[in-house]
Amino acid sequence: MGPRRAARSGGPGVPSLSRRSLLAAGAAVALAGCGRPAAGGSAPLRIGAIPDQDPEVLQRLFGTVSAAVAGALGREVAYTPVTDYAAAVSLFRTGDLDLVWFGGLTGVQARLQTPGARPVAQRDVDRAFTSVFVVNTATGLAPSGDLTALAPLRFTYGSPTSTSGRLMPAWFLREAGVDPEGFPGGPGFAGSHDATLALVASGTYEAGVLNAQVWRARTAEGAVDPAVVRHAETPPYADYHWLLHPAAAGRTGVPDLHDRLVAFLTGLRPGDPVLDLFGAGAFVAVQASDHDRIEQVGRELGLLR
């Protein structure tokens, strides 16, 4: 049923199947009885990603990733762009996505809802990811590691289930003795890291927190408004990773799918376009236990049930 669904996404920026092969595939599926996850066989691998940073670049260049993975596995690869964290987790649960690039918290959510799902790999930077607290210059706060200074300010997070834009910053605020929900008027949710920057720049919120990678990229581009300054950075934590659906190996007909994906991803050499796309020096293997802390924090903050 994969090819049919690839058509549905409109294939934005993705080398999509021709209409004729699509029809043929559709007919084949119809003849096969249209069961959802076809048991066995050689269905394409369906990759999804939550475009968290530079979603625009990510969606246009994901063709590169699809082609590389397809070459390594000898299977067709269909990329499905997803814009909503909750939708990506749900689509993984329903078996509509086989391999998804999840954030730390969303990956744990997906694993809890899909027993048997296994993490595949993460970037070198994800082993020690950080978030940056930013403040508007009008607050007059000098950069320091002191998070308690943020407590009386209007404060915004990014997306509600973002690991770097919500979960871990909230945790470190709590560790510092600041109620992560107790900001005046309640914390805001800007929705994306760039929106957080814009809302702190405008002074609507006096402080906010975002993904350190986005902060560095925007600073390097010179795209950060001078009214926004870095206040503090969190200690490192584990974040993004690839997660594989338990039924994927059977569906695609690649029994050692997990191992082959690990071998492919960790075998990428520096300078490979896939690594450049992900802003990584390398992919490294990852264990489910690497995200135990995220799970514990998520439960304590009421973001996991």
Binding site: R4, E56, N136, G191
Partner: protein, 534 residues
């Protein structure tokens, strides 16, 4: 962002006696507005944030400089096809659901109005985006998600409007057919349907335009198409690209609107034809519609099989088990009650801001009988502005409003007001166009200035229908608060987004029940108010 109203029914002879109930309704509305304003101001510490003007200017400046690079335009072109297919298939479903539902609701068909209204309140009370997220959990990536999410709520709204239109038709022909021995279905088909056909068609065309906007909102939650592109560009605040997508969307809406308008005109005033043959233009339009819907079903690869597949049943069972029974702990219920108040205040403010704007712009936006070139340009500009107001999605307006306003009820209210003004302004202009032009012409002939002629010849007669439209929009605004909840605007939308993101399905059920009850209550109140206006 759906609107629900056919053009208002004009009675031949307006009653001369004033209805006392109007005073009560007027005072009630004023009290509601003051209470909502108090809620907006109570957050303390001022509401305006002048520091955000630079961000606002960046958003506005990009409108003049949309992204036009070839790769992006290529991506958009493919997305347009998906959006068109979603809108066409969704509208087709809405009309089928609406026609079937109308039979249940219509008095002519022996329906019980209040019972059916309760039945329809559930699909109608939930926003398309909410339907989309729920359906993703059952159907996964199936194209039916977008089609059902557009078609179900729109279908429920259509049912009510279709029933109202059929009920307005004089009954003589219908009774005569019954008396002659025809069965009820046949009598309804031949006695009630033909006179109502114009109104039904007009509303169907209007539905298509709404569906284009709904398809975009759905794209923003992941259904692909223009909305998806817009969401991507919006997440990284690439305003130039956001504007290109908005313009593409505005062009689609305009096409749908113009097509509907042309078909309506043709139906209202068919050209004198030498024979009794069918009007070729209308025949072509009908055939084109059928082809468009067929193409959409093919392009999206819609298959009825996936609706009844084992996987779907399994996911439905999973979701039902997780979502039932609803969460009823005291803390959650108190939070829901408090946020319901915010939601009502946001919606009241949105309509209160949009209504005066719509009244002011109705004059310039209406197409004049014999326009001067200057009048023509002004009219086109105002209509274009209204089109953009309703095309830019509510979450984008919410962020833009948040640049220059402090977090609270007000930015959300203004974000919804922008879209409401876009729709209401257009409806008010249509009301003005359809009024009897003679009182105004008489005043002008007697030497009244244009403004005076408008105030005394147009405004009094347009006020009733425009208020009725505004009351309808109030209900829509309550549903739309779901879209702007997260961005500091609060209300039930923020709570719903949080519960959905943390997969607390029992709490989601509770919040959704609250939204449905709230929408239903607003619908009942606005229905009573409209009755007093007639």
């Amino acid at each position: 962002m759906t609107a629900t109203l056919p053009r208002p029914v004009h009675r031949a002879a307006p009653r001369l006696r004033r209805d006392r109930r109007r005073w009560a309704w007027g005072l009630g509305a004023a009290a509601l507005l003051v209470w909502s304003l108090a809620g907006a101001g109570s957050s303390g510490g001022g509401v305006v944030n002048p520091g955000g003007t630079a961000q606002l200017a960046r958003f506005a400046a990009a409108a003049w400089d949309p992204a036009l690079d070839a790769p992006y335009l290529g991506v958009l072109a493919r997305s347009v096809l998906v959006t068109v297919a979603h809108a066409a298939a969704g509208t087709a479903l809405a009309l089928v659901v609406g026609a079937a539902g109308a039979v249940l609701v219509s008095r002519a068909a022996g329906g019980r109005r209040w019972a059916a209204r309760g039945l329809l309140a559930v699909p109608r009370g939930l926003h398309e985006a909410v339907w989309g997220l729920l359906l993703v959990n059952v159907l996964g990536l199936d194209p039916w998600v977008a089609v059902l999410a557009i078609g179900l709520p729109a279908g429920a709204a259509t049912a009510q409007v279709f029933a109202a239109l059929v009920d307005e038709v004089p009954r003589e022909a219908y009774r005569a057919l019954l008396a002659a021995g025809a069965g009820r279905p046949a009598a309804a088909l031949y006695g009630l349907l033909p006179p109502a056909a114009g109104g039904l068609l007009s509303y169907a065309a209007y539905r298509l335009e709404c569906a284009v906007r709904s398809a975009v909102v759905l794209g923003m939650v992941g259904a692909g198409g223009l909305g998806y592109q817009l969401a991507l560009s919006f997440a990284s605040l690439r305003w130039a690209q956001v504007w290109t997508a908005v313009y593409a969307l505005a062009a689609l809406s305009l096409l749908a609107e113009l097509g509907g308008r042309a078909a309506r005109r043709r139906l209202a005033a068919p050209p004198p034809s030498p024979s009794e043959r069918r009007d070729p233009v209308l025949t072509a339009a009908a055939a084109g519609t059928v082809v468009l819907v067929g193409w959409s079903a093919w392009y999206l690869a819609l298959s009825p099989a996936s609706l009844v597949s084992a996987g779907t049943a399994e996911q439905l069972a999973y979701l039902s088990a997780a979502a039932w029974p609803p969460a009823t702990d005291g803390g959650l219920l108190r939070t829901v009650a408090g946020l319901a108040v915010d939601t009502v205040q946001v919606s009241v403010l949105a309509v209160a801001v949009a209504l005066p704007g719509a009244l002011l712009l109705a004059g310039p936006a209406a197409r004049a009988e014999r326009p001067t070139p200057a009048r023509r340009v002004t009219g086109a500009l105002v209509r274009g502005g209204l089109l953009l107001l309703r095309t830019v999605p509510a979450p984008v307006w919410a962020l833009v409003a948040l640049f220059v306003l402090r977090p609270g009820v007000l930015p959300g209210a203004l974000a919804l007001a922008a879209g409401t003004l876009g729709v209401l302004g257009r409806l008010a202009a249509e009301v003005t166009e359809e009024l009897d032009p003679r009182p105004r012409a008489a005043l002008a002939a007697l030497g009244a200035r244009p403004v005076g002629a408008w105030l005394y010849g147009v405004a009094p007669r347009a006020a009733g229908p425009v208020l009725a439209h505004a009351l309808h929009r109030w209900e829509v605004a309550v549903r739309d608060t779901v879209l702007v909840g997260l961005l500091g605007a609060g209300g039930l939308g923020a709570l719903l987004a949080t519960e959905l993101a943390t997969f607390d399905w029992a709490a989601v059920t509770t919040v959704l029940a609250a939204v449905v009850v709230l929408t239903w209550a607003v619908d009942v109140v606005s229905d009573r108010a409209r009755a007093a206006l007639r």
